[in-house]
Symmetry: C2
Subunit: 270 residues, 2 copies
């Protein structure tokens, strides 16, 4: 998907919402497990249908599928087929390896799974990232400042003679590897103040913002500090929407939650 | 597998060799594709049989399997079942995510696939790594100084007031999260001089050393600088062994190459 289609969908739906399909078979409603042969796929189908009117992107967390082995990977493939064509599909895989291996990951996520974007880890540098940038209308979403506590361990390290931290250097260097048309950055909603400094480095890029919802990030604060002329934000919510209820009403509960988030977002979208 | 069993196998085979099963269907001998229904699995079976006498570990690069979708993940599962019980099994997956997601990756690789170790990326910090350390006799192999050109981009960044680089800080901080009994570090064979400085930080840990073979790292230099009282090295070779020939003789060619590497190693093992 290109940036024009993404922006158009944001404008039409007045939403920046990305729903994270972190589907854990142990957390889905019990009745699905007794009534359906493939409860994970049934759950995903219903969550997608319940949320799609307010959602511009779906983010599929590969870990939750790999935990079920090859059957889980099959569910990953089938889930992507259920996502409406107007939605942006993110494989949240946090991959990256030496060049010939990143080429295989790009093939896995872009050619085989047909995702629009894949999350990529920066530690191995340029030749581990650029193989993902060779596909037209496909995107790298590079980890910059993550939402978890462990983001303190290395991402905030100050660099010698540069007055900046590692995560700022990662953004500064890597933005030259692609453009605002094929790269985004992950910035956790748990760091609203840092979003302002990040906007000085990448004023025009999209940021994928996880950490709203169960992780406690403040949505309005992120919107005020992160929006740009391209909209420039995809706000991910996973558990707070997909597990809003573990009963028969989980679809309407997910719908209501998705609408709540979208209604806050729509106030900020012209 | 615990460290005693690993050391015992190294001593018995007089080898530190890890064979990397980066199996690309486009590179395996043509006759396998016409004669066998599942040429990748047949190739892996034969490579394992041809190399097992000189090999103490097999490293399976997940990218090459994911590129074939759920069928590829099935081949990953079946390949692990073919590896002899005395060999250490590394899932070269370069994973890491927020805590609840790393837990799912640990489940995928340790419980479901039954690998002994998984390669983990450090950028997201402690809570992205420790879920992998909660399994007895299972290992984290953390990326420290990788073999690729992109290792220059961030891993060598000098940190303020510390006189050390990012990769040294990664090792210094992360070694406290586990012990020499459940953590190793990835250090590319393309950086022999840095191995000496790394040995000052982690004198007792095992290092997984990729980059010998196609990537050009010097084996003898690595052995001289990296061995410790635990042996402390697993030396990975992938393409130079598994693609030693693309003809009918690929098994004997792989055997000969594995023996060549092992014969150099055995001179350094008491």
């Amino acid at each position: 998907m290109n940036i024009a289609s993404l922006k158009n969908n944001i404008k039409t739906k007045r939403s920046l919402l990305c729903v994270g399909l972190d589907t854990d078979v142990e957390k889905i409603p019990e009745f699905l497990k007794t009534e359906f042969e493939n409860p994970v796929l049934e759950f995903n189908k219903r969550i997608i249908n319940a949320t799609k009117d307010y959602t511009v992107a779906y983010k599929i967390n590969t870990a939750f599928y790999e935990a079920e082995g090859s059957n889980g990977w099959y569910n990953l493939e089938e889930t992507i087929k259920l996502i409406p064509k107007d939605c942006f599909i993110i494989a949240d895989a946090k991959r990256a390896d030496i060049g010939n291996t990143s080429e295989m990951y790009a093939r896995a996520f872009f050619q085989k799974l047909k995702a629009d974007a894949v999350t990529v880890a920066p530690y191995m540098g340029k030749d581990s990232v650029t193989p993902f940038l060779n596909y037209p209308d496909k995107w790298v979403i590079l980890l910059a400042l993550t939402s978890n506590k462990g983001s303190q361990d290395f991402q905030y390290l100050k660099l010698e003679n540069q007055q900046i931290t590692l995560y700022q250097q990662v953004i500064t260097i890597s933005k030259e590897w692609g453009s605002q048309n094929n790269m985004m950055f992950v910035v956790g909603a748990t760091h609203p103040d840092e979003i302002e400094s990040i906007r000085k480095i990448v004023p025009d890029h999209f940021l994928l913002v996880p950490g709203v919802g169960s992780q406690g990030g403040d949505l309005e604060s992120i919107l005020k500090k992160g929006l740009n002329e391209n909209y420039g934000l995809l706000i991910n919510v996973s558990r707070a929407i997909i597990y809003a209820s573990d009963k028969k009403d989980f679809e309407s509960a997910a719908y209501i939650k998705a609408k709540e988030y979208r209604d806050i977002m729509s106030k900020f979208i012209q």
